[in-house]
Subunit: 348 residues, 4 copies
């Protein structure tokens, strides 16, 4: 088969490689029908993720069709269409039992293994371990592209942003960073009844997407004083929930300033450096700060919302490519601003 | 009447001052029967709390007897024994309605006003504003000293430590700092079913108190490697909840290291400097960090537990003084280590 | 002033009566600007509520303008526009402190006192006790009719239906009974992310309203087999939440049959007779059943949603009358089906 | 091997039967080291459970040692000591994913299959399906008898009584019925901070056990007016939580009367007949009623509490028998009152 192979920092190619096979009784093999590229893949290519070895097939988000099943697999069969989430869950370790497969102990303590510790999903075929406790059947009447972004970005914005942020009906929510993951938080804020959703970003083009995805207010932090605008909007109290969706200390510290007493800062961003936590101000403020890798445990629920037309997750897919144009797809995604791109859709 | 007057940094005296009177219809005046001294009072005397003006009567924890009531007060009458919590609640602002009187908007945004913004409770008499929404009747059969520490320290340990920490049955809880507030967390951890309570401190004398108050394990951080002991105790996973009860950056950062993926760091300590938040490690760890000033909203519940003999809060009172020996009481409390003191009880 | 006086079963009139005055320091007097009629008022007129004495002024839902304040009232002043909810809250009894003023102990154990135990709000003026802990200022830019139905029916549908029913994102919710209170549940189901909202009623006209208010499916139980339709819609599992909004044993028992294992039956209906609880089927089903009178504690939150255009509560007002046409308004409301009426709006 | 075989109503014997074997890759075979008898077994023997066929091996509670594993089993090996709970969980159906294996869809919609739909655990060996998602390793240093009652009765009392009842610190909890399952609720009430635990039963001998297991008050309903005693104890308000642990309409209706406004009735009892639900009283009372079969999802947590000496579950075992004395064990358990027995322990 063909697959995208990582050959070390800065180097990748769409190569012929051996077909994967069922190696454990709980495995399935899936023909990938649609896949996509994550910001994490770009980090890997920069050499930022040393646990990814050369020769690794990349990618951790895909929808496909089952072509083979292990001896222990009874609830999935050939021809089933399945959504393969970014997170693998053994279903039986202490962390999976507490609904936290992001830290599945059976796969090494971090549930993200595709395109990281095992071969990934930017490929024509893929071996999927712990299949029955990890993948989800795609409901009838729902297309592959409608659910592709439920593999990672949508549950990330929802679980790590909205749900960790304990967004409640009536809340004013600030989302700092309107890239794809921030937009996923914006798109799902209404599921918890948010009354006002304030997008904050440096780029007007992303703020325009934010409005299309459900933001009621936007602040361009390049031109506007974010603290002042939020203070005016909230009678000086601050927002109920501030969601960090960038991953640098400055935006985290902004979120910690914007939140009202009793509010929540939900960090989604992937950080490479420490932030300063102003405990001398925050100790008295009754705030909650959360972090987290997505668990994808809300995928069954999100599938219901997609089935019923409540969520239109396909809107993240701004550009579409055939598998064998994946190198071009990477170029577009890596320069998303210039192409006004959110996510690319790779089609069989 | 006599009261403890703050005369500026380093200076206090037990002076004759005018009796307080009812000035608002929602006020009561209370004869103080027992009071105590808080670490915050020592900070004020060092000049660390500039919002406290010279001439202010200190103290924010007391139990007493109602001697006068305002025209709007119908549920309290002369002779009622009342517990006066550290936090005043108007009962009608947005923050009081969300059960967060620690930030009561009617009294300036911080619910702690006694001995801070208005005259306090280390006095023979005190005016108590918003009385019906703030004070609690002492149940029959319960003594003053049994409930004195429900005014501040016990709900602080419980609400800000155990409840914010979302301690659950079976949890392993580390309490870093075994001074009075840490001990209050230790004493109430069992209310949420904690299975193991690990006290961490530099002083063996405090660790001894910790065991008496319910700690199952203790670590002297002067001699032992806290991280290593916790790792061994928890199969390398970390504790479910780490409670910070000191108030310096180092102990906060210790708590952030000790907590398992999916766990909670509950900060009780009063901080004067920022801490470093290692988001480069924590972003992926699904942790929750909380801060807060006590709300005292659990006092009615704690009173039930005291009434039924489930909590023996009087054990915090290691030393007892008459009101007119308050200067000596301050000396003992300020040098608690030498006197093996936890809290002093001031008796009418 | 003029007011609607109850003269015993079947008898009411719009009479000249003495103006109310401030009698307690915590009272205010309000000029009523808009009011409405509740199904409960019709029950009183039938003689079904013996605690209502002859001579009582009826009505418990109104928006008005403060004209006088008691000595203890500091946060409300003359000219303030206020929403007066159906429930009075003293703010300090055990039940108010646990956010359950529906059972306020200071007003007799049931928080509904207007037009019941004290004079009501279908009047030109009204005395409002415990004003600061009971009424809510109307935000700027919001009209009286936009918030009139937040006094009772909207929080009833939301708190007792949706919130007690613990509706979660992705849920399928059945609302049995599409009268005003059922419609209030339907209108607010989206605040918790309901994916499918199934209205069940005997009247097509009400089912038509249900669709306008947000129902995604409707079942006319006069013609259709409700159990069969729900079974088909839910793969035989049953709905996540079944909301009873009629008040007869049959509809309650229908709800108990429709709910899936692990689901919730939320009863809103006012019942006059016992129902049969089929514990021989239900004991194993992991179901939750809730009941309740509204607390109106979510009114501040609902006001935010109205302010932001997220809830259009004025849509309940299908017919409008001047105060002195109140007798005609009662006639229309009592025969709502024939007039295709939901709620009437009484305007100063 | 030897096992207890059901030969139709009234008939059972300890017979030689074929050894079980691994038949699915997710199976294990366990040598049973200790087992017990449940009230449900007595019901089966009366012919009350028609889904149990003749020839079925009975029993659904055991601790044993793994002797064989299926090809898909990687986290369990020969020699591992395992607790086999009454509930089997596939770990991947919709109900298992929502932590409700009591209704596991992969095993027929009810998670209780041992000694019911497949051969059970009152046997020298047993086949255990879906082993890795169902069984739990016994911690080192913990004996078989310490955890035997975590297979069913203890999590039933805790999950269906205390947890469903949402017992909170300070609560007054009534447990109606002080048989083994009621005692399990009493034993675990303290994990949620219950302040008063009132046992209600007709037999003084069971009330005596109740006190030993943690009840603070007891009422013999044969001699005392339960309603009056509870009213006096609770200032006429009622209990916070009433737990039904008998299974007849009268005791359910008692619980519904005893609960305060805002309280919870948690039904544990297995019912064979409907009860009358007095909605004409309850509609306004803001009560919650729950039912449920145990999920056993709290077993890992309960194991931690046993490991740390917080729960002494072995105290349920009042009588001990060798496997080949099982007929006598049944006789004692069937006449528990006369023998002052709670549960019998069957030892290899």
């Amino acid at each position: 088969m063909k697959a995208l192979v990582y050959h070390g920092p800065g180097q990748k190619s769409w190569d012929e490689v051996p077909d994967p096979t069922v190696s454990e009784p709980t495995d399935i093999v899936v023909r990938i029908d649609t896949s996509t590229i994550c910001g994490t893949d770009l980090h890997i290519l920069k050499g930022d993720v040393p646990t990814v070895e050369q020769g690794r097939l990349l990618g951790h988000e895909a929808v496909g069709t089952v072509v083979a099943t292990g001896a222990a697999v009874s609830s999935l069969g050939e021809g089933d269409r399945v959504l393969i989430p970014a997170i693998t869950s053994c279903g039986r370790c202490a962390n999976c039992k507490r609904a936290m497969p992001s830290h599945c102990l059976a796969v090494g303590g971090v549930g993200w293994i595709f395109g990281h510790l095992i071969d990934g999903l930017q490929a024509e075929l893929a071996r999927v371990p712990f299949a029955e406790t990890s993948v989800h059947k795609v409901p009838k009447g729902v297309t592959d592209t409608q659910v592709l972004f439920l593999t990672d970005i949508l549950p990330t914005g929802y679980e790590v942003g909205i749900r960790n942020g304990r967004v409640k009906p009536g809340d004013t929510v600030a989302v700092v960073g309107a890239g794809p993951v921030g937009l996923a938080a914006i798109m799902t804020a209404g599921l918890h009844g948010a009354s006002r959703v304030v997008a904050v970003d440096l780029a007007d083009s992303r703020l325009e997407f934010a409005k299309q995805f459900g933001a009621t207010h936007s602040i361009n932090s390049a031109n506007e004083d974010v603290d002042a605008v939020i203070a005016e909007l909230t009678d000086g109290q601050g927002v109920d929930v501030a969601i960090e969706a960038v991953g640098v200390p400055e935006t985290f510290e902004t979120c910690a300033r914007l939140v009202r007493p009793g509010g929540v800062v939900a960090n989604i961003g992937v950080h490479g450096a420490p932030a300063t936590l102003h405990l001398e101000d925050l100790w008295i403020k009754n705030v909650t700060i959360t972090t987290g890798l997505v668990d994808t445990v809300t995928v069954p629920m999100l599938l219901q919302l997609v089935r019923d037309g409540r969520i239109r997750a396909e809107r993240f897919g701004t550009h579409e490519f055939a598998f064998d144009s994946i190198m071009e797809a990477y170029d577009v995604f890596a320069d998303a601003g210039r192409h006004n791109a959110l996510k690319v859709v790779l089609m069989r």
